[in-house]
Amino acid sequence: MRVPVPIPEIKIGASKHQRCYPAKEKDMAKIDLPKERVERWKEVMLKKMAEILEKYRSVRLFLDICVKCGACADKCQFFLGTGDPKNMPVARADLLRKVYKRYFTLGGKVWGRANEAEELSEGVLQEWITYFYQCSECRRCSIFCPYGIDTAEITIAAREIMAAAGIATKYVTEVVAKVYDTGNNMGIRPLAWKDMCAFFEEDLKDTEGEDIKFPVDAVGAEVLLLPPSADVFVNNNTMAGYAKMFHAAGISWTTSTYCNEGGNFGLFLNFANMKKINNRILEAARQLKVKKIYWGE
């Protein structure tokens, strides 16, 4: 059923002040990024942008072909929620598009005004920091765009560009750094993980009256389960549900203390970290010699 959402009036700058905390130095060091904004940030960012344009057809194409029809404008929950026009997917992409046009297209170089080209300045960067972190990369806009323009790709590119110059948010970098230290986003240490699983077993014995196992680091199990670590931490019923399901189906399974996280915050930061975090899943699976990976988030 479609529930009509009232389209808000445009309020310029309505969510301008809602900004993320900047990343901490200790986290940035752990995830191979500059500790703070580098001195020559403009050059670094433009260089990274050129690299991304060579690597991602999606970004190059989406920056080129948007006709600004506005079909996506009232589809973004961030626009519907705030009414800030820069939260319309097209306007969000325009933040990157105007810089792209200024430095990488003939149209923007020759006739910048018609093509809305703009230099990468401190003001533009501040807009990037504000509005590219007000996108959840849900891709809802892409299914309404006649050309399938996916603003998530643009957001990902912009965040990668900013990360290269040492600009990121505390929340995301902290979580990514935590994954490298503990194997999950919540920061649950291996022994704590084992303890929680033992607790689950006792709890289920009380409530269900059966020996439902929560194996940890069981070498040679058939399935490696990667729940979102929040399932262990807060959504306990979901975690108990996994075990009951495996128990009923008679499938041998295990979790790993090296990698016990189904979510990947590298998506919100940059490609290298996303790849590293995903690679841990393969490493864990090889360590435990499992046949299958069940991966939910």
């Binding site: 752990k30 809305e116 996916d150 090296y258």
Partner: protein, 262 residues
């Protein structure tokens, strides 16, 4: 002046148009697609992708779901534009093929109607606050060129009729690289100038959306998850040994942590 308008500029604009589009498409195709980012509902086979793209080209289903009124105007405009363009083939082909003769009347009325969706699209940009906010000079310029071209074309058809044989001689002369100057009404030169401006503007502007749709990774990929998707610029994972646990370091740390507890 005549030679400039009727010989030099048409050749120049056509060359810029073709080369510009070719270069844009070349850059798009050359750029790799590192990840599978196809949007749902995604086809699983190549045939499915073909049908999806044909559907996208002919019906604009995404726009239909997004905004019915905008879809109606956009879809009508594109269909009418195609009819008008096909009708214009009669100035370029000799002898005129039967199917072109068949759509002459249809194309004529399409030409009369085409300013209506264009005017709607322009009004929409000015009236809807959101659309006004995102519109840039380039958007208005494209609409201005299209409106001027169609309006001058309609005027040529209805009020200031030019001698068709002359026009056709000019165009065929250009095609066969034996250009000659026509005795045409001044309005025809205006019409031609607008068309040439459109040709020059096309490759450097958003009007390139026409070709971009077919190459859009969210639309032209398959959801064949059985097959591994290979990233052409993939690189090996490099761990930062100082800060990050490698599997070996991790096992060591686990042992240490155990020792502390006991």
């Amino acid at each position: 002046m005549g030679a400039l308008t009727f010989i030099f500029l048409p050749y120049l604009c056509t060359a810029v148009f073709l080369l510009g589009i070719g270069m844009k498409v070349f850059f798009w195709i050359r750029t790799p697609v590192p990840l599978r980012i196809v949007t749902t509902p995604a086809p699983r086979t190549r045939m499915g992708v073909t049908w999806r793209l044909i559907g996208d080209l002919l019906w604009f289903p995404n726009l239909f779901n997004a905004d019915k009124l905008l879809w109606l105007a956009g879809w009508c405009f594109h269909i009418l534009l195609w009819l008008v363009l096909l009708r214009h083939l009669r100035y370029f082909l000799y002898p005129v093929p039967t199917w072109v003769k068949g759509i002459l009347t249809l194309g004529l009325y399409a030409g009369y109607l085409i300013p209506i969706p264009l005017a709607f699209l322009l009004t929409r940009r000015l009236v809807i606050e959101r659309a006004l906010y995102i519109s840039i000079l380039g958007d208005y310029f494209a609409l201005f060129l299209l409106l001027s071209t169609t309006l001058s074309g309609i005027l040529l058809q209805v009020f200031f009729r030019t001698y068709l044989i002359d026009i056709k001689a000019l165009i065929l002369g250009l095609i066969h690289f034996k250009p000659l100057l026509p005795q045409a009404h001044w309005l025809f030169s205006i019409h031609l100038l607008f068309v040439m401006a459109l040709l020059i503007y096309f490759p450097f502007s958003k009007l390139m959306h026409a070709g971009g749709l077919l190459l859009s990774p969210t639309q032209n990929q398959r959801a064949n998850f059985e097959q591994r998707f290979i990233n052409p610029w993939d690189f090996p994972v490099a761990y930062n040994d100082q800060n990050i646990f490698s599997p070996e370091k991790y096992r060591q740390a686990l042992m240490e942590q155990k020792g502390e507890k006991e």
